[in-house]
Amino acid sequence: MTTARRKPLMTALALWFVAAPAHAGWGDFDALFAVLPCPDGWMACETSAGGLSPEPLRDGSGVPLPADLRVGWFDLAPTAAFSPFAAMAARSGSTAPQADQAAVAEQAAAKAEAEQVAAAEAQRVAQEQADEARRQREEAVARANQEAEAARRMSEQAASASAEERARLEKEASAARERAAAAERARIEAEAQERARQEAARAEAERMAKARAEAESARKAQEEAARKAQETSAVAAVDPTRPAPAVSSDCTDLTKLEPSSLLGTLTPGQIECVEKRVATDVKMTDKDKASRLLMSNAFAKGDKEGWEKLVKRHLEEINQSDPDLSYKYALVLSKMGPGRAAGVIKWSDVALENKTVWTGDTFTNRVNSLYKFRAVAAQSLWQKAETDFAAEANDDKKALVEKHRNSTKVYAREWFEYAKVAGKDATQALQLCMSAAGTKDYCEGP
């Protein structure tokens, strides 16, 4: 440490030594003046080692000591108050007069009272100090508790805030994951639809090719059979005893008959066998398959009347859940004029009940077409009823006119609304609706 740095320190110490006594008072020297230094509890006495009084003693070095100190502080030498068993010196002098004794007693009582007051005051002060200390301690405890509570609240808020943030982030992450999953699903569905479309196109092409090949082979087989038949007939003409070749009419495996039914080349025996299966099979699914074979065969042959009967039977007795079939039937009937209009409405309704089977554009196109079939069929019924009423007016015909006009109005409005929503051309639907309702307000709605 350098001299320059030491100088202020020394100055401070010197000032402290000078200033410290100035701060001391008489109260700081109470311990030096023992009030009752004598071994027998008196204030002053003569012992064998010397006299004792509240006046401080002095040790061998002259250092003042409290009178009741038994050994010196610095030299450990016994003082006049060393032995508590030291005999008291005999007291000389006369006894104080009674008045003096009374005065002494009064002084003693006053002193005792003062001591009691002082003790009470000291006790009160001590009590106050204790109370103050307790109050401070309680305040400190309360403050500490408050601080702890605040800290706990802050930590909870921090925790909840972080939890909310975490929840928000998790929610956003979840939404993002869901969006990503939806996009992925849409992509997968689009791919699946594309694959299905390609597969269907490929299958259709193969089926057509196969059908053409089978038709060709069937044609060749027919030619061959015709040629053989000619030969057989020629042979039979020569040899009438030879039996005709047997034709297989087995229909145990319906799947094997599908190619023939697609070409409309089921033999009468096979048709009869399949018809029997339709009539006798217990399971509706088997009946359904057999009925489909017959319908397909009739359609491929161009037997529309037979096909219509078979479809009607299928839909009414076997299964109505195929909307393709109901739709196709309604489409065919709708081309047959007002006479079949009731059937068009009925089977359009059936197809619309099962429309959820369709998806995408197929759904939109076919549902729109079905609404159209129904509205057009109702309109044809209305037109026919109006013509009949114009030819011969009566109440029954008038009621029929109103019934069909209302049907047309309702169906045309449904067609118009769907076409509008589905993005189809709704012009004709609106015109038809207005034609039946007589007003645009009804058709366009509120």
């Binding site: 597969e199 359609f299 489409l331 709708s334 109006e386 004709q428």
Partner: protein, 136 residues
């Protein structure tokens, strides 16, 4: 002479009864043929006025609204009508009633919705054999 004066007075008295000015609608198709099934309707009137089956004409001189109000046609009255017929496009027109010769020719265009059926939009589905995938 006295009889003639009495007849003239009675005729004048009969003329003072309130009647609307008759408006005649003639509903024809684009070829000029009457449409026997056509009807004429005022937007606020519930009843529809049918045309004559032979002539395609309907004469209207008053309207009877649902609240019981009778609207007699008078000169200068502007009227709205909707003319419709099954198989024809609807026509909405406004007509100002004149004092006389109120003939309103209306031509309705054919609405051939029947031809819409079976068009390109109407797919003809292939009926499957009850399987999801056709057999190869």
């Amino acid at each position: 002479m006295m009889w003639l004066a009495t007849f003239a007075a009675l005729s004048l008295a009969a003329d003072t009864t309130e009647i609307g000015i008759p408006v005649t609608f003639e509903v024809l198709d684009v070829e000029g043929a009457p449409i026997p099934t056509a009807v004429i309707r005022h937007p606020k009137e519930q009843d529809r006025h049918r045309v004559n089956v032979e002539t395609g004409r309907a004469v209207v001189s008053a309207l009877y609204l649902p609240d019981g109000t009778e609207v007699l046609f008078t000169k200068g009255l502007e009227l709205e009508f909707e003319i419709s017929a099954p198989g024809f496009q609807n026509v909405h027109l406004t007509y100002l009633v004149r004092k006389r010769r109120n003939l309103v020719p209306v031509e309705l265009e054919k609405l051939d919705v029947q031809s819409l059926v079976g068009g390109e939009e109407d797919e003809d589905p292939v009926i499957q054999f009850g399987r999801d995938k056709p057999i190869d």
